[in-house]
Subunit: 129 residues, 2 copies
DNA sequence: GTATTATGCGTACATTTGTACTGGAGTCAA
DNA sequence: TTGACTCCAGTACAAATGTACGCATAATAC
C-alpha cells in the first residue's frame, strides 16, 4: 500500500518542518524555513502541493487558508530514505555509515553516553535483528 | 577547490562500484551492477561519463577500451552525501540518525562489539569533537 | 576478406526537481 | 469603493536525472 514516490531533497526539508509544526499553513512553513535559508513563498507552496500529491500530507481549507498536516510518520520516511542511501552508498551495510558518523562527525560527550545506553539496551533484550 | 556538483543516487551506485574495482571499464562496472539490478550498458556508460565530467573520475584509453578510475576518495563523497542528508532530514543532528540505524535496522552482535570498541576508542583520546 | 561483435561517442528524451511569476479572489482600512 | 494585502491555484521553465537508441569504427571469427 505504500508506493509513494520518494521525496526529493528540498521536499524532505519541507516535510521536516511540517513534522515539527504538526499542522501548518504554507506561510508558517515558509517562515520557519526562511530562518535558515532564502526561499520564495511560492516555492514552498509548490513543495507542499507536491508533498500532498505524493501522498505525504493531507490538506484542507480552514476558511481562506489551506492547512497541511503530514500523513506519513517521520520514522517511515526516514527509514525509506536512509535505507536507500545505505543501499546505494554502502551496498546495504549499516556499520560503515555508523563508523563514519562517529568518527568523522563530532559526537559530543552527551551523545556518546546516549549511544552507550542504546547499545546496552539492545544487548539486553534479544539483540541482533 | 572541491566544488564538484553532487552525485545523484544512480551515479553514487556507479561510483561505489568504481571504488570497489579501483580501475574499471564500463563493461566491468556494468557486469558488477547487473548482478543486482537490470540496467542497460549504455546507461552505465552515461553515468560514468557524467562521473568524469563532474570531476569524480579520471579516464583514459587503454588501446580501444576506456578505463575509469575514481579521482575522489569514497570517504569524501560519503561525508558530503551524509552531511547533506543529516542536514535536511535531521536539521544537522547526528544522533537521531544513529538511533534510527541502531534501532530500526538490525545491528548484528558483531557489529555491536565493533561499535562499542569505536566508542571506547573515542572516549580515550580527546573525545567530543 | 566479409560478417559479426565489441566499444566509444554523441544524441535524444521524458520526468523530476528547484525555483518562481501571475492573476484572481477575499479582507481590511480609510 | 479604492487600495493595499493575503492567500490560493495555475502555469512556467531551465537544469538535472534516469534511461537508452544509433552510428561509426575497430577487433574477431570464419
Amino acid at each position: 500500500m505504500g508506493e509513494r514516490p520518494a521525496l526529493s531533497k528540498a521536499e524532505l526539508e519541507v516535510a521536516r518542518v511540517l513534522w515539527e509544526l504538526g499542522e501548518a499553513t504554507v506561510r508558517q512553513v515558509h517562515e520557519t524555513l526562511s530562518a535558515s535559508r532564502k526561499i520564495d513563498f511560492a516555492t514552498v507552496q509548490t513543495y507542499m502541493r507536491r508533498l500532498e500529491s505524493k501522498g505525504y500530507a493531507r490538506t484542507w481549507l480552514d476558511g481562506r487558508t489551506r492547512v497541511y498536516t503530514p500523513s506519513v510518520k517521520p520514522a517511515t520516511v526516514i527509514r525509506e530514505t536512509v535505507d536507500d542511501l545505505v543501499e546505494r552508498l554502502f551496498g546495504g551495510e549499516t556499520l560503515p555509515l555508523m563508523q563514519h558518523l562517529i568518527e568523522d562527525r563530532g559526537v559530543s560527550g552527551e551523545d556518546l553516553a546516549q549511544l552507550r545506553a542504546l547499545l546496552d539496551r539492545l544487548e539486553e533484550d534479544g539483540h541482533g535483528k
